[in-house]
């Protein structure tokens, strides 16, 4: 008698426990493809290697911020001897100076991964001002 009750309970439990899986079945969002436009397309290499940038750009930016604000060092020379302005959005040599469209680059992955960095609460994209 209790056997059938236990099994029904178990089945109900499993259905509820796996709710996130079956509700989203077949609805996977496609992996974002951040688009390289303008100068970034022709540059081939960013400040660090592609995979390193992908994994560590946030700590790089953090390091840059301290360097610019506290030590007044604003130029970053990478291992290839190439110089970059340690700035998110000002000037030709900054991040956005090369990755010209934030919505096609930064936002793509950030939206997918549901991260909401507060960079743009203060920093401005030249395009968005106009």
């Amino acid at each position: 008698m209790s056997k059938s009750a236990i099994f029904t309970g178990l089945v109900i439990f499993i259905i509820i426990a796996l709710f996130p899986f079956w509700i989203n079945f077949g609805k996977t969002a496609p992996v974002p493809e951040p688009e390289l436009v303008g100068k970034a397309k022709t540059a081939k290499k960013c400040v660090l290697d592609k995979m390193d940038m992908r994994a560590n750009h946030m700590s790089l930016l953090d390091e840059w911020r301290d360097s610019v604000v506290r030590d007044a060092n604003r130029i970053y020379t990478n291992t290839d001897g190439k110089e970059f302005a340690m700035s998110l959005s000002t000037g030709e040599n900054s991040c956005l100076g090369c990755h010209e469209d934030k919505s096609k680059f930064c936002d793509k992955c950030h939206n997918y991964a549901s991260v909401d960095p507060y960079c743009w609460e203060c920093h401005t994209e030249p395009k968005e001002i106009k």
Binding site: D52, V69, R74, I75, Y76, T79, G91, T124
Partner: protein, 276 residues
């Protein structure tokens, strides 16, 4: 089933432990061409950046007219995206903006009466001209800056060249610095400032809600080898330079003229001088 003696088990365990311990060293030595390469990357200041041992400012009050003062304030605030709460909000871009509380204002440099700028020097028989002069006041970039001591997150700090600077990223909006500053040089963003910026300068970030701000002595311009905005439009009324260098422009002015500083008795040692 094979039986393992305690002895043989310990042998295997010891060898694996050594292997695991050595792994980071091996991978480190084998990957000297590692992509990160931070050992060779370098950070340096801009070429042609202006440097000083201690930045300071000298304001020649005889050259300050209402017009000049207005230009200075406007140039500074416009360039640094300082919000003006009298600016009419663009409803299309920022719908549902709360009405303005005019007790809140944000300012980096502004006009003040003599008796407010120098309360300890007010006098019954003070020359009339001082009573009507528009005095310009701003952050004094004090040597013993009380705001720096008050800041719990080191968002406000004293740079080696004497500029009292803010790292807006780190500011948590506690406003201890505002209470500590005897000159009222700091303003708090009670709200998002963006709707109140008439024309956003893309070369300087705005601030966000909950952050304190103040004059940065145009650190971003000195880094490019340029003079601060206020100096540029002041028609000679403001001079910025190295106070430690006897040959600098401000020091030459201080040699020849009598100059005072604000609230000297407090011992904060301001770096802004007023030629009387």
């Amino acid at each position: 089933m094979m039986k393992k003696s305690r002895r043989s088990f310990l042998k295997v365990a010891a060898v694996s432990a050594i292997g695991i311990g050595a792994a980071p060293a091996i991978s480190l030595s084998s990957s000297s061409t590692n992509s990160h390469g931070s050992s060779h990357a370098a950070k340096s200041p801009n070429k042609g950046a202006k440097t000083a041992k201690r930045w300071g400012m000298v304001i020649d009050t005889s050259k300050l007219t209402e017009e000049v003062v207005e230009h200075i304030v406007e140039a500074c605030h416009k360039a640094h995206n300082v919000p003006d709460f009298n600016h009419e909000v663009d409803e299309g871009k920022y719908p549902k903006t709360r009405p303005v509380n005019h007790k809140q204002e944000v300012k980096w440099i502004w006009e003040e009466h003599f008796h407010n700028a120098f309360p300890d020097k007010e006098d019954e028989f003070l020359a009339d001209k001082f009573k009507h002069l528009p005095f310009l006041v701003t952050c004094n970039h004090c040597i013993n800056a009380p705001c720096v001591k008050a800041c719990p997150t080191q968002a406000t700090f004293k740079r080696e060249d004497g500029i009292v600077l803010m790292d807006f990223h780190r500011c948590i909006g506690c406003r201890f610095c505002m209470a500590a500053c005897p000159f009222g040089a700091r303003s708090f963003n009670f709200r998002d400032p963006r709707p109140f910026i008439a024309e956003t300068n893309p070369d300087f970030p705005t601030r966000s809600k909950g952050v304190v701000e103040k004059c940065n002595l145009c650190a971003e311009r000195l880094a490019k080898g340029e003079q601060p905005y206020c100096v540029e439009v002041s028609k000679g009324a403001i001079v910025v330079g190295d106070l430690e260098d006897p040959e600098s422009e401000p020091r030459k002015l201080l040699d020849k003229n009598y100059a005072i500083r604000r609230k000297q008795a407090l011992g904060t040692e301001p770096s802004v001088y007023y030629i009387m």
